[in-house]
């Protein structure tokens, strides 16, 4: 089954759970920035959790489906229409052959995941279907979608859909995706500290326009590291909170470089990465200190919530 890209949107890329094990070659993690929404979207259409789906940024694409398909949209609030009819998110939707799916602007949040039953079929490169924009491989030719692209979907056969069908049940994504103002993310200590000690945690930060899949760039009161000496490049990780000389912190995301030479003033915990992925320019952000036990609890809670969601969806899909 083929999906034709009529208009690509601002930045639409194929992403799965990410590409791990190649950081020693300078290859970053890539993968869905909001892995929670990405996972739920896949579960809603009966896919594996880490199947390849489309990550849509701020303004969505227009897509024509040559065959009927079951889809789900999860993540940011977005205007979505199928042949002119509004369709809701966080639930399975069946769309008929020949339909055009038009995704508009994100109203809240920055990234939407479009999962299609069967998953988007792209070659596996270095163990992953995710697009590596820096390396120019993975996904669709290592780049964002452009008008005229064809997305192939691995389906087992025809899905009989006469007209648009919207499930009457849905998944409530809170508290993982909540669009609170300000967004709060929890931070484990890094090697470096700032002076005064509360300077990172007391103020609100504003998300800068230059933020992208490599990092959330923040604007606010200039931070000063306790030890401002220059240092050599060392490995970094997604979630690392870097402090460049301009005093404006950057939270590294999945597409960040594998090494960095700036002071590391913290690490945003994994359970809160989806919230980072939903930040848009101008949004407000606060950091909260946490310890390893709290990080572990947060991660276990997340895993348990996803496991419950998976069970609930599977029960619904089987009874349908």
């Amino acid at each position: 089954m083929t999906i034709r890209v009529l208009a690509p949107g601002a930045l639409s890329t194929v992403q799965n759970g990410g590409r791990e094990g190649y950081r020693h070659l300078g290859v970053g993690s890539t993968g869905a920035l909001d892995a929670y929404s990405h996972t739920v979207a896949n579960l809603l259409v009966g896919n594996r959790r880490d199947a390849a789906a489309l990550e849509i940024t701020l303004a969505g694409p227009r897509l024509r489906f040559e065959r009927a398909a079951r889809i789900a949209l999860c993540g940011a609030d977005i205007d979505a229409h199928c042949d002119g009819r509004a369709i809701p998110a966080w639930r399975p939707v069946s769309i008929p052959a020949g339909a055009t799916l038009a995704l508009g602007a994100c109203r809240r949040g920055a990234r939407v995941y479009l999962a299609i039953a069967g998953g988007i079929a792209v070659p596996t490169v270095l163990g992953s279907s995710s697009t590596d924009l820096r390396g120019g491989f993975g996904g669709v030719e290592g780049r964002a979608l452009v008008a005229g692209d064809a997305l192939h979907v691995a389906t087992d056969g025809e899905i009989p859909v006469e007209a648009l069908q919207v499930a009457r049940w849905w998944i409530d994504p809170s508290p993982d995706i909540a669009f609170d103002t300000p967004t709060i993310v929890r931070v484990l200590p890094g090697r470096d500290t700032v002076a005064p000690a509360g300077a990172l945690f007391d103020p609100e930060w504003r998300v800068a326009v230059a933020s992208d899949r490599q990092g959330v760039r923040l604007e606010g009161e200039m931070l000063r590291p306790v030890d401002p000496d220059e240092r050599i490049s060392e490995p970094v990780s997604p979630g690392t909170l870097q402090l460049p000389p301009d005093g404006q912190p950057i939270v590294l995301l999945a597409d960040a470089q594998t090494h960095g030479g700036y002071p590391r003033i913290g690490h945003v915990i994994r359970a809160d990465w989806p919230r980072l992925g939903q930040l848009r320019p101008g949004d407000r952000l606060r950091f909260e200190p946490c310890d390893r036990a709290q990080a572990l609890d947060a991660w276990r809670d997340r895993c348990h919530r996803l496991a419950r969601i998976e069970l609930a969806i599977s029960a619904r899909l089987q009874s349908a």
Binding site: H24, R134, G135, R270
Partner: protein
């Protein structure tokens, strides 16, 4: 004998990189001897690597160990296990004395291939031909791969050739460009923005994700540039 230990109590200096990474620091300077120990330690770890270790990532004077993100109920125990594993390594790591093979990289220097060759020569007070011969006279070591997939940071540059990066990076540096950034030299595997002084270009493909060995060079490898003539 070189000591692995960098902590005050004689144990390795280990920093947590969030919930699933550890950074083991052997030094704080760009120094070929420290870097050689990093690669020796990385090989030593690789020899007893547990299956839950995702990646061992060398840098100039440190290396990172990344573990699988924990699955409940055992989430996060893996970092503690990784610390035990690292601390159980012999405290003294010797750089390998056996020299591995040298990867030769043919380079067309100057002209359209190396638009900054004249500037590097002027900065060094040398004739461009001397810059080429000095750049090609050394066996370099791949200190680490970073910045982009397959980009080698090479140690061993003749100090007379060191030159600061461009004030304003170029928007597009062609694939295969050989550059000088400060005291290091390196090769851009793919066209893209870059601030290093470009003195030549190679047609050798540094990184191809479809190859069984995607990166031509691995951390710790030896590299030599071979000048070639022609357009």
């Amino acid at each position: 004998m070189a000591r692995l230990a960098a902590g005050t109590d004689g144990s390795p200096d280990i920093e947590r990189l969030g919930e699933d990474g550890l950074l083991v620091r052997l030094g704080t300077a760009i120094d070929p001897r420290i870097n050689a120990r990093v690669h020796a330690f990385a090989r030593q770890l690789a020899a007893s690597r547990p299956d839950w270790v995702r990646d061992i990532v060398p840098a100039y004077a440190s290396l990172a160990v990344f573990v699988e993100p924990g699955k409940p109920p055992h989430a996060c125990d893996l970092l503690d296990a990784a610390i035990d594993w690292i601390r159980a390594q012999p405290a003294d790591v010797m750089a390998d004395t056996a020299i591995s093979g040298v990867v030769e990289i043919p380079v067309r220097y100057g002209g359209e291939h190396g638009p900054d060759l004249a500037a590097v020569a002027a900065h060094a007070g040398l004739h461009p031909a001397d810059v080429i011969s000095r750049h090609a006279a050394v066996d370099y070591t791949v200190a680490m791969l970073g910045f982009a997939p397959g980009f080698p940071y090479l140690l061993g540059l003749d100090t007379s050739l060191a030159m600061q990066r461009l004030q304003t990076p170029r928007l597009r540096v062609p694939a295969g460009s050989v550059g000088i950034g400060g005291a290091q030299t390196g090769i851009y595997p793919r066209s893209g923005p870059g601030g290093w002084r470009i003195i030549g270009r190679t047609e050798t493909v540094l990184f191809d994700p479809r190859r069984s060995q995607p990166s031509l060079l691995s951390p710790g490898d030896r590299v030599r540039f071979v000048p070639v003539a022609g357009p």
